[in-house]
């Protein structure tokens, strides 16, 4: 068939496309069904959060941070509050630290449940999506019970948390954890051994460890490539060093490993939340912080392990009530950046699988 003239053509995957989880546009150069080149085009969701923060006082920035990454808003609150606390050297009360860890880990579970659902949905299995969201609802209810919000919590504040948990929180939380742990078995039964799932994910989208490190890829994607690095353990923040848990690591760096690793992380998070609930002390939930919070001159880059990798905030303070500069760094930013370097060569369906298992969310990329 050598005589037929063929030519590559460009397909716009996005900005509105079911598989891009938001408004990302991937310009694909395709040879038939084969993806030859990927060029991510971002900025459709650019809300200038960094610029807006420069004109807000520090406590007013926290609701902006909720919008920076709305799937795990708790961690955005945490990373900003932590930066402010490090700037002003505020000691956070013990109970507040425990509550923070509980909320952060619950939010991580919720985010990974969404990952489970959307990834399966991107490969055509629609049922797991509903399963994932069903269990996430339990966690969202817990958050609603605590801070009245279901998506943008504004819960973790500078110096502590905004409200104490209600009395019925702890039994409800334990119940929810038991349910989720039971349902994990169902999830794995549905996909782990499914032959179609295996041929769709095993060996697809192999991300070598060197490439991942060099591109600043972090979090579950990095650990799936065999790099044993978790900020919760290796650059401890809050009180993660007090709990007994394992960092999940896989070796192959393909889509299947990224999927397995996240399921394992749900298990570890459940264990952390249980330990935190057991050890929850009585006491104050918020250090005394003036509403006109004025940190001394200085700068800090604070980072935490979010469900999508390293989430960091750089703050430079000039000694006034408003930050001089706030820079947000999300894990998805670097993951999407690395995509053109390992996502090519497969078919469109493979690209969809790779994109789904990177678990990119676009507000974090565009900010």
């Amino acid at each position: 068939m050598g005589k037929l003239k063929t030519e590559e053509f460009v397909v716009n995957m996005g900005p509105v496309h079911p598989a891009t989880h938001g408004v990302c546009r991937l310009m694909l150069t395709m040879d038939g069904e084969k993806v030859v080149k990927i060029e991510p085009v971002i900025g459709y969701l650019h809300r200038a959060i960094e610029k807006v923060c420069e004109n807000r006082t520090y406590p007013q920035c926290i609701p902006m941070m909720d919008r920076f990454e709305y799937v795990t808003s708790m961690s955005t609150n945490q990373v900003f509050s932590q930066a402010c606390e490090r700037l002003a050297e505020i000691e956070v009360p013990e109970r507040a630290e425990y509550l923070r860890v509980i909320m952060l880990e619950l939010n991580r579970i919720a985010s990974h449940l969404i990952f489970y659902g959307t990834t399966a949905m991107d490969m055509g299995a629609l049922t797991p999506f509903l399963y994932g969201l069903r269990e996430r609802e339990l966690i969202i209810d817990l958050f609603e019970m605590t801070c009245g919000q279901r998506l943008t919590y504004n819960y973790i504040r500078i110096g502590g948390v905004s409200k104490d948990i209600p009395k019925e929180f702890i039994p409800k939380c334990r119940e929810a954890l038991d349910i989720i742990e039971g349902k994990l078995v169902d999830y794995e039964g549905l996909l782990n051994e499914n032959p179609i799932w295996l041929i769709r994910t095993k060996g697809i989208g192999h991300l070598p460890a060197e490439l991942a490190t060099s591109f600043g890829v972090s979090g579950p994607v990095l650990r799936a490539s065999g790099v044993d690095y978790d900020i919760r353990r290796d650059d401890p923040y809050s009180i993660y060093d007090r709990f007994d848990w394992k960092v999940a690591v896989c070796q192959n760096g393909d889509c299947y490993d990224r999927y397995l690793l996240r399921l394992e992380e749900i298990r570890q998070s459940i264990s952390i939340v249980r330990q935190a609930l057991d050890g929850l002390p009585e006491g104050n939930i918020k250090a005394k912080v003036s509403p006109k919070f004025k940190p001394p001159v200085g700068e800090v880059y604070s980072r935490i392990e979010n469900s999508r990798g390293e989430m960091g905030v750089y703050i430079q303070s000039d000694g006034t009530t408003k930050p001089l500069r706030v820079k947000c760094r999300g894990g998805s930013y670097n993951q999407l950046q690395a995509l053109p370097y390992f996502g090519t060569g497969g078919l469109v369906a493979d690209l969809v699988a790779i994109f789904a298992t990177l678990d990119v969310i676009l507000p974090e990329v565009d900010r």
């Binding site: 399966a120 299995a125 179609i196 799932w197 469109v348 369906a349 493979d350």
Partner: protein
């Protein structure tokens, strides 16, 4: 079969209608024409309603697999939801792409819709309840169901959209590949019946369920499995729904269609699903054969069970990739189907069957 239950056979309604027409004094040829027109209209109407019902049923099954309710607001368990949806689609603006291929774009849904219904000319709904008993029945079905692929290609080409074109090309490749194992599986049955007529095929399975070809043929279950896999692919359903793979091609070939034209594609898809199930029942599950109940009830009941199977596939499995799909067809299904056919033919020749 007792007499009073036998009166429930729909074929008597047809005879009654014919006698009514004859009593008005019309000549014999005109009566035949009128009665066939009525028959066609009724078949068409019933099938359109059936497609609407299938859409509702699929939504309910999907909902229950996913542990939710599905449509609940419109009537009892939302029974007229799809009727309202169809009415909504009828009212919608017919959006047309500027740079479409006008002729092809317009006729694609029509061809798809018509092709979906053509197969029912030879479908034996019940005892004697068949529009025309063609002697080449099953061959005719295979021929007209493949029309669908032409319509999908037309839709893909006419839309002037790369996603649509990819969807059309995928569907052509898929249908051509899966036609081969499907025909091989059907041939296994035909070898035993010795006739292509649908009525002959059903009558060869009369009697107890032990006479159904899935049990009677030497490797009946294998033939059935090959057929049902190929049929799922033929009906473009998960795990073989790559022509319209939502997360890859957005909506595939029907991406640029809206309103009524989209509704035609949509209903045709469900009619196709019913068609392949009905053929599966005719070939492997004894068609309308059954005891106590009227034959058309048996036929519909069995068909709905096969449809249920297809729906459960859809809501359980992820989708295959396009090259894996081809590999599966050519490297697994085709050899299996032909081995089955050859073995079955040898056993038929030697008389090693019952």
């Amino acid at each position: 079969m007792s007499d009073n239950l036998g009166n429930l056979e729909l074929i008597h309604v047809f005879y009654w209608l014919k006698e009514l027409l004859l009593s008005t004094g019309l000549g014999e040829p005109y009566v035949t024409i009128v009665s066939y027109v009525v028959l066609g209209a009724v078949t068409f109407g019933v099938l359109a309603l059936l497609a609407l019902f299938l859409v509702w049923w699929e939504r309910k099954i999907a909902a229950h697999i996913q542990q939710r309710f599905g449509p609940m607001r419109t009537g009892w368990h939302g029974w007229y939801q799809t009727i309202m949806d169809a009415v909504k689609l009828l009212q919608k603006e017919d959006v047309r792409v500027d740079k479409r291929d006008k002729f092809v774009f317009f006729w694609a849904p029509v061809v798809c819709f018509v092709a979906a219904f053509l197969a029912y000319v030879v479908m034996p709904f019940g005892n004697q309840l068949i529009v025309a008993d063609l002697s080449i029945g099953i061959l005719y079905v295979l021929a007209v169901t493949t029309f669908t692929v032409i319509s999908l290609l037309m839709a893909g080409w006419g839309s002037n959209n790369k996603y649509a074109l990819l969807g059309g090309m995928r569907s052509a490749a898929q249908v051509v590949s899966y036609e081969v194992p499907m025909v091989a599986a059907i041939l296994t049955v035909i070898v035993y019946v010795g006739s292509l007529s649908m009525v002959d095929i059903v009558e060869a399975q009369s009697g107890l369920f032990i006479n159904w070809f899935i049990f009677k043929l030497p490797f009946g279950p294998i033939a059935f499995i090959v057929y049902i896999i190929a049929a799922t692919a033929e009906a473009n359903r998960v795990p073989f729904d790559i022509p319209e793979a939502e997360q890859e091609l957005v909506a595939g070939f029907n991406i640029e269609y809206s309103g009524m034209k989209f509704a035609m594609f949509f209903l045709a898809e469900f009619v196709n699903m019913f068609t392949v199930s009905a053929i599966a029942v005719t070939l492997f599950f004894g068609g309308w054969n059954g005891v106590f109940l009227p034959s058309w009830v048996w036929f519909l009941g069995k068909t709905f069970l096969v449809v249920l199977l297809l729906m459960m596939f859809r809501w359980t499995y992820p989708r295959l990739r396009v090259d894996q799909l081809m590999e599966f067809a050519w490297k697994f299904l085709v050899p299996l189907a032909f081995a089955n056919l050859i073995l079955g033919s040898i056993m038929k020749y030697l008389g090693w069957y019952w």
